[in-house]
């Protein structure tokens, strides 16, 4: 699904941010991407959502080499990806509703379907009453929930979230994490950048650790943790979206 083949990256003529990144993520997998601030988490994600091109090496997304795919076809890949940006990147002049509806409108879905789906999702993330408000008038946590709703509204094949729980108090944070779990169970591949160890430990997915531009995968440790957290995992598996509310 995603394959990094000796990928290196730097911004313009700056220093290398990522060195020889080599890894492969299977469809349906769920990973945390962690590492200290400035380690390159956001940069790595932006390579995946095609916000930047690798400086060196080959990047395969959905089994297609991004480097050789003609530019006019890259949007097809982007449309399969839901992104929660670290700084949300909402359109400030559009209502919460229209922000969440945007990816569907780009896909030219019928307006009636858009209205139903968006309303339902906004209700679910607890923003039903704020759907006509403009993002700048909402709190950081509310904006983040809009950003998350916009990322998942199309049921993307791949969800990339950059510190998506940073502005959320724990109750809402866990509720959204449970949304990600559910999406993952329905087949969405997920990569979440976070340095919230509490969340990583609670959900126990394998971690990719970035440090000094190098990536290490820590599958083994997380396998152990997953078993240690048996009851919770079971809870997630049987639970519905409601259980964390």
């Amino acid at each position: 699904m995603i394959r990094f083949d000796k990928v290196g990256f730097r911004y313009d003529s700056g220093p290398d941010v990522l060195n020889d990144i080599d890894f492969e993520l299977k469809a349906g997998s769920y990973h945390f991407l962690t590492g200290p601030s400035g380690a390159g988490k956001t940069s790595l994600l932006s390579l995946m959502y095609l916000g930047h091109r690798p400086t060196r090496g080959n990047l395969f997304m959905f089994n297609q080499n991004v480097g050789t795919l003609p530019r006019e076809r890259l949007y097809e890949i982007r449309q399969k990806i839901g992104i929660v940006f670290q700084d949300f990147r909402l359109l400030g002049h559009l209502s919460a509703f229209d922000n969440v509806a945007l990816p569907l409108r780009i896909l030219k879905r019928p307006e009636k379907e858009i209205r139903n789906n968006v309303t339902e999702l906004l209700d679910w993330v607890g923003l039903g009453d704020s759907k006509d408000k403009l993002p700048p008038t909402l709190s950081g946590g509310q904006q983040q929930r809009i950003a998350i709703a916009r990322a998942v509204i199309t049921r993307p094949k791949l969800l990339l979230a950059d510190e998506p729980t940073g502005n959320l108090d724990d109750a809402i944070g866990f509720r959204l994490m449970n949304l990600f779990e559910q999406l993952n169970r329905m087949g969405t591949t997920i990569v979440i950048a976070t340095h919230n160890t509490h969340i990583m430990e609670k959900y126990g997915h394998p971690r990719m650790i970035l440090a000094h531009g190098n990536l290490t995968l820590d599958e083994h440790r997380n396998k152990a943790e997953e078993t240690a957290q048996g009851p919770l995992t079971a809870n997630i598996k049987t639970g519905t979206l409601k259980h964390a509310s």
Binding site: R71, L74, Y75, I81, R89, L91, G92, I106, R150
Partner: protein
């Protein structure tokens, strides 16, 4: 939701955009940017100039058509009433020479028609210059024949001149060619000028639209990038700028074209007052006025295409 210094145009542009792109098809902010008003004014001005240039060209074309077809094949043969050395010829001898020439013209294939002018006609012709109550008995009357040729080629004129001179050495052939040619050359220059104005109008519009679009894209860079990253194909983004440019140009161009037509009609109306034989009645007919609808459409086409092309080129710099 946006403070807007110009609610009337903004409201209209917004409504038209909604109409074209669907009720929710426009994702960019709707700030009152001075650059849009500048574009509106510029397109209006350019359309105004284009109308005047086109109206001028059309009129000149109509005028030259008439002059050429009306005068090009016409010549006048004058039998002078005095010899080059000042000797006055008798009216009888003038009349005789005139009739001889007329006889020679009769049956000549190169001649379409001719008319020997009688005294009354000649008097009518010259009276504007010398006054109505001038006694014509005091000056010797020349003989005049108005001739229409089938085709005024230089060869025909040459042979005709020889023949006329052999019959009556004091006769002179006057063509309208020389001054007509001068006028036609002048008119061609004017038409070239009008074409130049039209070209300048088009180039200016294209330049202004593309720089306007680039600055709009810079203003909305963040929004454009978001649309791009969440999967909007380039044409989706281009459409937003394209229709904005089309609608602004449509408004500007309709205003400019209407103003141009009004001014052109006024000018024609005023200059039509001293209509003479040489300056045929000028002005635009209804068909021509209707044809000016093409102008706003052309303005929309130019600005839409320019905007689209500019956006696509700018977007191609993004990964």
């Amino acid at each position: 939701m946006q403070a807007d210094s110009d609610p009337v145009t903004s409201g209209m542009i917004r409504r038209l955009l909604r109409l074209v792109l669907g009720s929710k098809g426009y994702d960019l902010p709707f700030k009152s940017d001075t650059d849009r008003n500048f574009l509106l004014l510029l397109v209006a001005l350019m359309s105004f100039l284009a109308v005047l240039a086109c109206a001028g060209t059309l009129t000149l074309h109509a005028m030259t058509q008439r002059w050429s077809s009306g005068l090009e094949n016409k010549i006048t043969i004058e039998v002078k009433a005095e010899t080059p050395n000042g000797e006055i010829l008798s009216p009888e001898s003038v009349k005789l020479d005139t009739e001889k020439i007329a006889g020679m013209l009769e049956g000549n294939l190169a001649i379409k028609s001719y008319q020997v002018m009688n005294e009354v006609e000649i008097k009518k012709l010259v009276s504007p210059w010398i006054g109505e109550d001038f006694s014509f008995d005091e000056i010797p009357m020349p003989g005049l024949i108005a001739v229409e040729l089938s085709a005024a080629t230089p060869e025909t004129l040459e042979t005709l001149t020889q023949k006329v001179l052999s019959v009556a050495p004091s006769a002179r052939i006057e063509t309208h060619r020389e001054w007509l040619q001068d006028i036609l050359r002048f008119v061609k220059t004017l038409q070239g000028l009008a074409f130049l104005v039209a070209m300048i109008v088009v180039v200016t519009t294209i330049t202004a639209i593309s720089s306007g679009v680039r600055s709009r894209m810079a203003i909305y860079r963040n929004q454009v990038e978001i649309l791009h990253l969440i999967g909007a194909p380039d044409p989706y983004i281009a459409r937003q700028f394209q229709w904005h440019a089309v609608i602004v140009s449509l408004l500007g161009s309709v205003i400019g074209t209407a103003a141009g037509l009004a001014v052109a009609t006024l000018i024609f109306h005023l200059s039509g007052k001293d209509e003479t034989a040489l300056i045929p009645e000028i002005g635009l007919n209804y068909g021509q006025i209707a044809a000016f609808i093409i102008l706003p459409l052309l303005a929309c086409l130019i600005s839409g295409t320019t905007a689209r092309f500019t956006v696509l080129r700018t977007l191609s710099q993004m990964p």
